[in-house]
């Protein structure tokens, strides 16, 4: 019997013959925390008296959740992180650089890596074939100190993709459909492994979107094999040497298999207050939206902004619907400027904000009032997440978000394309 991607990577990094259900200690290739989890990570590291980082060049801090800081308490947290980086020699990505998961994707993650981050959406790097997963501050503090951690090797669910997306439909619709069908705890403690000929029709950006939301089904990781699309991505990022072929064995064993035909999908929306509470966008026509938010580690990449700009170019947002656009990183911002997407969006009366997480978690820059509804391209619509616990969050694709910004109500993007 062969191995799944999860079993292969954890065997390699633990130096053992690892199978699902085993508990292993694996070397960690990259460990990081961000500005809302980093301060507690540092305090736990100090409480343990650990003193030195195991691998300063494999340890990173990101200032992205409140970038720049909206208040003095978080400003103090930022100072703590900068001082820790200065003292230990770890990598630090200060405000303005972008969302941790986007920078990890652009610059740090490699196929076959084990990556641990004090942020649940660390799973994003699974799109590049990295066993990347979120943990809390104590676990991450110990990885800072030891350079390794323990894992239960997960059982894998194989998602077999076929066909090609139709116009107006994309990776976000696929992952919302998947979570809707297996449930918000449908993959708890497990790996989602994506495969099939449909992968050839899906770019890196869409793969990041899907891997990013694996955790919304409870999964430990969302893993993709590598192929020519992955290789091209590394080449464009100027790190061709980081590419390596990586795929599951053909005779690996899976807990279950799910087939998805990309051509059968339609624009999907998750309704308040759970990600698995999905409906077709067209079924929600008439739902008034006061704020559209395009950005986040889920859908703040150049391809996402290109889709939104394409729909909004030469038009104006609905007068009663705010439109907030946040590129996921400085690199994305620069490319969006170069491609004139930012111009099209500002002319459509969008607000462009600096790279970061802010509005997604109700921290700043797009906080919802009581009774307001938001259509967001983010990954979570939990009660209270974006501000008032009496606000309503709907999740959709960049195309659905842009279409909704035009009409002021939830709109199937195929109506306006």
């Amino acid at each position: 019997v062969g191995k799944t991607l999860a079993e292969k990577i954890l065997s390699q990094k633990s130096g053992s013959d690892a199978w699902s259900g085993d508990i292993v200690i694996a070397q960690v290739d990259l460990v990081f925390a961000q500005d809302t989890t980093g301060p507690l990570t540092i305090r736990q590291f100090q409480a343990g008296g650990f003193g030195r980082l195991a691998n300063p060049q494999k340890t990173a801090l990101f200032l992205d959740h409140a970038a720049p800081s909206p208040n003095r308490q978080i400003s103090n947290d930022h100072v703590l992180l900068r001082q820790f980086a200065g003292q230990t020699g770890c990598l630090i990505y200060d405000v303005g650089g972008g969302i941790c998961h986007q920078i990890v994707a652009e610059s740090l993650a490699k196929p076959g890596d084990v990556i641990v981050g004090a942020d649940s959406h660390t799973v994003t790097a699974g799109a590049l074939g990295a066993f990347a997963t979120g943990m809390g501050s104590s676990d991450v503090a110990v990885v800072f100190a030891l350079g390794r951690t323990w894992f239960r090797v997960p059982e894998s669910i194989k998602i077999v993709l076929s066909g090609k997306f139709t116009r107006g439909v994309g990776a976000k619709d696929l992952v919302l459909n998947l979570i809707g069908s297996i449930g918000a705890d449908g993959a708890t403690y497990k790996a989602l492994e994506f495969s099939g000929e449909g992968l050839a029709n899906m770019g890196m950006s869409g793969r990041f979107t899907i891997a990013n939301m694996a955790v919304e089904a409870g999964a430990k990781v969302g893993l993709f094999p590598t192929d020519s699309t992955t290789r091209d991505y590394f080449r464009l990022q100027g790190r061709s040497n980081h590419y390596q072929p990586l795929f599951a064995d053909s005779d690996a064993s899976y807990e279950r298999k799910i087939n998805i035909d990309l051509a059968s999908l339609e624009p999907m929306v998750a309704k308040p207050h759970n990600v698995d509470n999905v409906a077709l966008a067209r079924e929600l026509k008439g739902t008034k939206i006061q704020q559209v938010f395009i950005g986040t580690c889920t859908n703040g990449r150049l391809e996402d902004i290109a889709i939104a700009a394409g729909i909004l170019k030469g038009k104006k947002r609905h007068p009663e619907t705010r439109l907030i656009v946040v590129p996921a990183s400085a690199q994305v911002m620069l490319e969006a400027i170069r491609e004139n997407y930012i111009r099209s969006l500002v002319e459509a009366e969008a607000i462009i904000l600096p790279p970061g997480c802010g509005a997604c978690l109700g921290l700043h820059q797009g906080v919802l009032a009581r009774g307001e509804a938001c259509l967001s391209t983010s990954n979570r619509n939990f009660k209270g997440r974006m501000g008032s616990p009496e606000a309503f969050i709907y999740l959709g694709s960049p195309a659905t978000a842009a279409a909704t910004a035009l009409t002021g109500e939830i709109t199937d993007p195929r109506e306006v394309m």
Binding site: I23, T36, G136, T149, D185, L361, G362
Partner: protein
């Protein structure tokens, strides 16, 4: 042996219910943050909970963010254990890492206000109010050891490494 009263919650209690992002500025001020524990799920919880009490929930407790502050403020509120039909993965690891038992059992028959007795060593829950005994799923050895040492940081201080 843990003993206390039940605060019952439903399915899918997220880390945003426990401590939402709008309180991120309080994460370096834990006593202040703890006053808001579970505010968006039950605004009276923080003022009613007493040392030793239990949180009993349905499926997927603690889904969402990796913020360890969520189990931390629950522990600071005096909760002695969380019992749920299932617990989201990151929250589960975080709770154990803080020495807060998260136990998987069928919670359907346990109601708000019930008095419980939990025997961690035996793996049993006794509902005193209902005169009913349940068992909970066993933790892997590494997690039992971490729990025994009162959390991950003290466990690593003691052993210097993970021991499987």
């Amino acid at each position: 042996l843990l003993k206390g009263k039940v605060f019952k919650f439903g399915d899918n209690i997220s880390t945003d219910h426990i401590i939402p992002g709008r309180l991120a500025h309080l994460r370096s001020n834990l006593p202040e943050l703890a006053k808001h524990v579970l505010e968006d799920a039950d605004p009276t919880f923080a003022s009613m909970v007493k040392a030793g009490d239990f949180i009993v929930a349905g499926n997927n407790f603690g889904l969402g963010s990796s913020r360890e502050h969520a189990p931390l403020v629950i522990k600071m509120a005096g909760v002695s254990a969380i019992l749920a039909k299932s617990v989201a993965r990151i929250f589960f690891r975080n709770a154990i890492n803080l020495g807060l038992p998260a136990l998987i059992c069928d919670t359907d028959g346990i109601d708000d206000g019930d008095e419980l007795e939990v025997d961690l060593g035996q793996g049993t829950v006794y509902d005193i109010t209902k005169a009913r005994r349940l068992t909970f799923g066993k933790l892997p050895k590494v997690m039992l050891d971490i729990l025994d040492e009162g959390g991950l940081v003290t466990y690593i201080q003691k052993y210097g490494d993970f021991k499987l």
